[in-house]
Amino acid sequence: MSGGKVPKIPLEKQVRMAVNGDEAVAYAAKHSLVDVVAAYPITPQTIIVEKFSEFVADGEVHTEFVPVESEHSAMSAVVGAAAAGARAFTATASQGLALMWEILYIASSLRLPIVLAVANRALSAPINIHCDHSDAMGMRDASWVQLFVENTQEAYDTTIQAFKIAEDPEVLLPVAVNLDGFVLSHTLEDIYMLPEEEVHKFLGGYRKVTGKTYVDYLGKEVEVKLDPANPLSFGPLDLYDYYFEHKVPQIKALEKAKEVVKRVNEEWYELTGRRYGDGVIDAWGVEDADIIVTVLGSTAGTVRHVARQLRKEGVKVGVLRIRLYRPFPFEEVANAIKGAKVVGVMDRALSFGSFGPSYLDISAALYGLKERPLLVNYVYGLGGRDVPPSLVRRMFEELIKVKEEGEVKEPLKLLGVRE
């Protein structure tokens, strides 16, 4: 977040509140005039739909709230709602997201602008309710836009932005907003919300179907939305004759999403005075850094906290928070870290049998360069293992050693695990 310019809505006109990350998401969904919410409870997401169902019970929203019998049904219900032209929202975590998996691909391939909040939580077994990114990484190939937030304020801001990104006519893809389970979902922080009507204006009111039309089998031109008066089939059979071609616009739309995320970040800045880097990456001190650490989510603040101390001690360190994980901002990430000698890549998930997911992306981002920094992958915080500043400092000290030695002996390290 950075300030400077006077926003269209100055802070004194914004609403200051102390809420946790889940409540912030619920308020954002309310302010975004969501037409349909379908959800099934799962910790640590539960507060989102609990809070939202209070808004429904108190008559504060017009939303159709559909309590379903599973997450598979929740995603199916919002697919139907979004296909009918509704602004649809759901939230989940961990096993719930795993159970949605089959329908995630249908949501994106039907180009439905659904918004999903994920309160990131480890996957079973053993059962664990705490934070890691394993759940989100299970959907990284599903053609969804994936954003990771750092704090409660950003959870509110990003949930609203997500609708704008998803519904952009050049995108029309679902967006997942990831907030770290407990570390953000259950953490109360002081934030600014907008007066509700300002969010309505920002999003252009209720969702509008883009006006794209389709010629049906009777030769009649109809809007691309589910409508009993003009029946349409969604996602019918498409074999080796056209399936491949039909993936091309989907690939292009996801690429396009990167620019839209940046644009919406700037529009939000004009409106509120808050922005998150360029929207896709949020860099701190990288310009002259010898050592850079990359990270997703709430741990970024703790890493920056330690980096500030190291800078005072004269060590040239930087921090790169990756806000947009899919589509991956290859160019932006490469430009931000290519000047460093050593880069520590933090992943709160492991692709078992390989590396942490973002390490693979960052390796790909750097491969085309003639000179590249040394890379070390730190897999950390699985199952909610806390990341105190002392642990982050230890990682930086190891990276300093790698810089001095000029080689990486162990490319994959498990940070904070007992030996």
Binding site: M1, R16, L188, T302
Partner: protein, 185 residues
């Protein structure tokens, strides 16, 4: 930045106390953070919650390891939990305790002068005013006696917003009573 660690048992409202203090400080214009440390959730088990209060925005997102103050909602915890673990040198311990100073120092296992120790008979006050042994709001009052982390006025606002009607009024009274009854020992 001031960091508080709350010790309670599941169901006693340690997390709520952490949130109410944070909300009051937010109303005073501070930056705040409060959160629980959830283990297996069950009534009666020892639990922790944390509050951070700062003049600057709070970036850090880890648990609190070196608090400036610890607050103990339930004196029976002293026998099983090391409540002074990590407490900063000269930091404060605020305990729901209705006994003598010697007894409290012995229960804490600390020497005189190492920390500042405060006692308040919160269970007794809660039984008088709420007619229930719920001490979380009383202990916020006690903490404010030791450290003026939030204004009493905004704490009352936060408590009344959280517990509307008579329950809020009674808790506000309990907080005032606990504040007055807290003694450094």
């Amino acid at each position: 930045m001031f960091e508080v660690r709350w010790h309670g048992r599941g169901g006693q409202g340690a997390w709520t106390a952490a949130n109410l203090l944070a909300t009051a400080a937010m109303l005073d214009g501070k930056h705040v953070q409060s959160f629980p440390a959830f283990g297996p959730e069950r009534a009666g088990a020892p639990v922790l919650a944390f509050t951070r209060i700062s003049d600057e925005p709070i970036e850090i997102h880890s648990m609190v390891y070196e608090p400036d103050a610890v607050v103990v909602l339930d004196p029976t915890l002293l026998a099983t939990v090391n409540v002074v673990e990590g407490l900063k040198k000269g930091g404060s311990i605020i305990v729901n305790f209705d006994g003598g100073a010697e007894e409290l120092y012995e229960a804490l296992g600390v020497g005189k002068g190492e920390y500042r120790v405060f006692a308040v008979p919160a269970t007794k006050l809660a039984l008088e005013i709420l007619k229930r042994p719920i001490t979380n709001t009383a202990m916020i009052g006690a903490l404010l006696k030791a450290h003026p982390l939030a204004s009493m006025e905004n704490l009352e606002r936060a408590v009344k917003a959280r517990f509307p009607g008579k329950v809020g009024e009674a808790n506000a009274e309990l907080i005032r009573k606990a504040y007055e009854s807290t003694r450094e020992v």
